[in-house]
Symmetry: C2
Subunit: 204 residues, 2 copies
């Protein structure tokens, strides 16, 4: 299998951590791929018109997206029910919490594009504030869920570690550790995992 990725992509990082934790990392070839908002990448758009990372290309040439579906696919390859509960009420809690984290990441990326990619004179502060607020309030939600932070590893914890790593990467001064001490302790515990440590975004 091949994974189109870049080390700076939090969505690709999520898949990478999952693949390591599921014991599948050696079956995946990582293909560095560059996508930039408001710039074309015609070659990659033949694979996915969305021009988003990551996608997984299976050995028979099927293209799997998005990052969550890729994790579901890898989870099934690994036997099923490893990072996402296979059934029961927990399944919907985990899926919903993951959707929340996915949306938080989307908002953090929109916020970054607004602040750091879009031409400065075209910045709309209210839009950036709105999206940052979604991510920030989402962090508060998880800070207040000690049961989520301490249970055995699952996709919610992986996605949450990725959100916090992305906050460090792109918003180093946002102060999440001070505001959310439970998340700080959780993140420290997650960093003890080689999968989480090795996949940290590059230094800026």
């Amino acid at each position: 299998m091949k994974l189109a990725f870049t080390p700076a992509s939090p969505f690709a990082r999520k898949v990478r951590i999952a693949a390591i934790e599921l014991g599948l990392i050696d079956k995946i070839e990582f293909v560095p791929t560059k996508v930039v908002p408001a710039e074309a990448n015609d070659e990659y758009m033949k694979i996915t018109p969305l021009k988003k990372l990551p996608v997984l290309i299976t050995d028979d040439g099927s293209v799997i997206l998005d990052s969550y579906v890729i994790v579901e696919y890898l989870d099934e390859l690994a036997g099923g029910g490893k990072l996402i509960p296979a059934s029961g009420p927990d399944r919907w809690k985990v899926k919903s919490d993951h959707s929340l984290l996915q949306g938080m990441l989307d908002s953090m990326l929109l916020c970054r594009y607004e602040n750091m990619v879009r031409p400065k004179e075209l910045k709309w502060q209210a839009w950036a504030d709105d999206h940052w607020n979604r991510a920030w309030k989402g962090m508060a939600r998880f800070n207040d869920k000690p049961e989520v932070l301490s249970r055995p590893l699952d996709i919610v914890q992986i996605a949450l570690a990725v959100v916090l790593g992305y906050a460090d990467f792109r918003y180093a001064d946002c102060g999440w550790r001070k505001a959310y001490p439970n998340l700080d302790a959780f993140h420290e515990r997650m960093l003890e995992r080689p999968s989480v440590k090795i996949s940290l975004p590059p230094k800026t």
Copy 2:
């Protein structure tokens, strides 16, 4: 169950069509909810910090998001495997095609925010063009998949009908029918379903 929704939300429309087709519509109370980019909605953000529609609130008070997870949940309530294959290679094709359509809708909404919600003087044309291009090339992808357009109803067809309905709603002059005749014929067939017809976005 309660669904936070607005008739203008394509994501909420997808859930509504699925609920009708699964025979679950009478179990859902629709709660009109207003969310606007760059404007606060503190009450709704207590339910979901993402401030996005729709969310489903189950009878025990659980909050399920996003629209795809809600459809999965309803599909399971209806017995499973109705709109999303329960297993096999088709499962990943359907999930990936749905993710593509979800991303196309995200891009169409970003494009609308750029063109019609953001203050005019802050518009970044290259960003709007990039996102429109993703949706447009995505449509081409489905126009060239006759097998997807003609098989029994599933979540991909529902999401595709929603994408095309949203194109009519917000980009009435984009010319998708002329550019993509297979999608035009598909959309006409889909409109024969009461679920698709009754859920059309309001006239603008």
